[in-house]
Symmetry: C2
Subunit: 362 residues, 2 copies
Amino acid sequence: MASYNFAAGPSALPKAVLAAAREGLGDWDGNGQSVMEIPFTGEAFARIHSEAEATLRRLLAIPSDYQVLFIQGGAYGQFSLLPMNLLRGRESVDYAVTGHWSQRAANEAKRYCRVNIVADGATNGFTDIPEWPEWSLDPAAAYCHITSNETANGIQFREWPETGSVPLVADVTSDFLMAPLDIRRFGLVYASAQKNAGIAGLTLVIVHQSLLGRALPITPTVFNYELLAAANSRINTPPVWALYLAGLVFKWILAEGGLAEMAARNRRHARWLYQAIDESGFYHCRVAESARSSVNVCFELPTAPLQQQFLAEAEAQGLHNLKGHAAATGLRASLYNGVSEAAVSGLLAFMHDFARCHAPAA
Amino acid sequence: MASYNFAAGPSALPKAVLAAAREGLGDWDGNGQSVMEIPFTGEAFARIHSEAEATLRRLLAIPSDYQVLFIQGGAYGQFSLLPMNLLRGRESVDYAVTGHWSQRAANEAKRYCRVNIVADGATNGFTDIPEWPEWSLDPAAAYCHITSNETANGIQFREWPETGSVPLVADVTSDFLMAPLDIRRFGLVYASAQKNAGIAGLTLVIVHQSLLGRALPITPTVFNYELLAAANSRINTPPVWALYLAGLVFKWILAEGGLAEMAARNRRHARWLYQAIDESGFYHCRVAESARSSVNVCFELPTAPLQQQFLAEAEAQGLHNLKGHAAATGLRASLYNGVSEAAVSGLLAFMHDFARCHAPAA
């Protein structure tokens, strides 16, 4: 039986990447060492690192005045490290709260400064993104933070807010590398790797060089963006295996046709799924159409027992990890780059059958 | 040709662990997912996590009133996170500086409070550990910090200082799991994993529960020891693969005979190497005999060109990564648990031959 993983992250990796990863466990440097054993100060690691960065720069067309940092840990750590790194000489930050993760990011920033909530999606139950022309932006803010895609709520930005002279900062963790991204629109973007850039334990930060040098004195050395940039992300031992995996994923995306191709696939998969939901008269998506995430498709069934039954039968048919986020009540299918068309087709067929069996007779 | 890795970390992994790691890249959960793809909120990961912790507790006989935390990143991050987590209500900390890493740990703590250097090995050029009865301990300090083994300088504690009511805190990164450790002597110990507990990207913190709840408000949520303990180290996505590898290493140590066996092997390897150095009349170790590290054997040759030649010929014979730390001038052989007796014998034979060829005629 085929088996498919719709988890919100750590998420499914492309089979080709898993196959390539196996090489890293063997004699990788010709000296009998696996990737996990090579010194991070040596040539073998330098090659892994520089190739990964070069491929990422090519994929995203990252301008040369932006630094690419590979940092230990996940995006949640950056919720604190971001204000620590950008606050010097400023007293406040702007945050748009559009769901579970942007709320946490804003909460974390409050440890270090005044946080101005420029838009609060709680007023619509996180079913839509507040129109940006109505955001209450503060021109003195150190930056304005958004979460490009909310995994728990299934909400995604389609266009970027205009923030004038205030740098726009985005947590792009969950839709990173799923479509082209105009880096010039941002002062900084960050993404933990375990969605579309490999495995847990690594976060990518792409930052304009003008934002380096603004760290508060409390910023730990190994998490100081300016020092990381100066040391080529090697102040201390980087997460070597996670960085190796990220490089493999970047190469795979390039070989598959790049970000335009990833976007085309994802749009197709998401369109099929939302269409199936909307046309079913059985499944329901609460998110406003203009803000629906192409990454995390959240939906509900008429009753909680039916949802349980749906999950159990889906599992039995090899459709895994469709339960929604703990903070939400419904189901969720995550459509990261590693989720194949066969997986989406399998889910659609199952949803169709399940609805036919359980929908009230017309 | 045999090939051996004497790197200071990331270091050689036992071959049996590498073989076991391969299973993690295959269908690990019976649902077609590799370890790198399973959700951290699911049963499959919970099993990996709880087995790893249970094995570690057994190896070290960790008392039940100590928490085991698995944290993202390396020990250098803890240099900051440690004072952040333990300083509430205190104004200063005690640090013994015995080499490169304890110096950095002390420097980092200075971001958050007054740092009292209770012992300064710089006065002897970091060739010995200042006698602890002469340390200038402060009874009001939040804790007293030591680095159990200094990888760059090749210095290691043989006994622990008495710090009275002040909790003793140790960075045990480089000799963790190489010998039994009486956890009760410490308020907290921490170790990044890439020496003897797997791969880079994970740090273990073993902390007495009385030290939880002392975090400063600036402590990031995901790095707050109390919150990590309450959430079983799963506030956000843990470094799943690194934790899986750590569990494999713990099991391997247990199967090999536990920490007493690791200590016996390491003592034997270190004794052979220091003996070869001392008896050669050619190689030289600057560290006082009572403070010599059994982990990182640092030594020098009569001249810099000879050192270069030694490194080149060693490489050619499959003896890799013998260059010393960038902050030191000499050579270094690291004898972590993953370094086999065959590796040590190979190095000894090479050193003997090299000395015979290049030592001045008697």
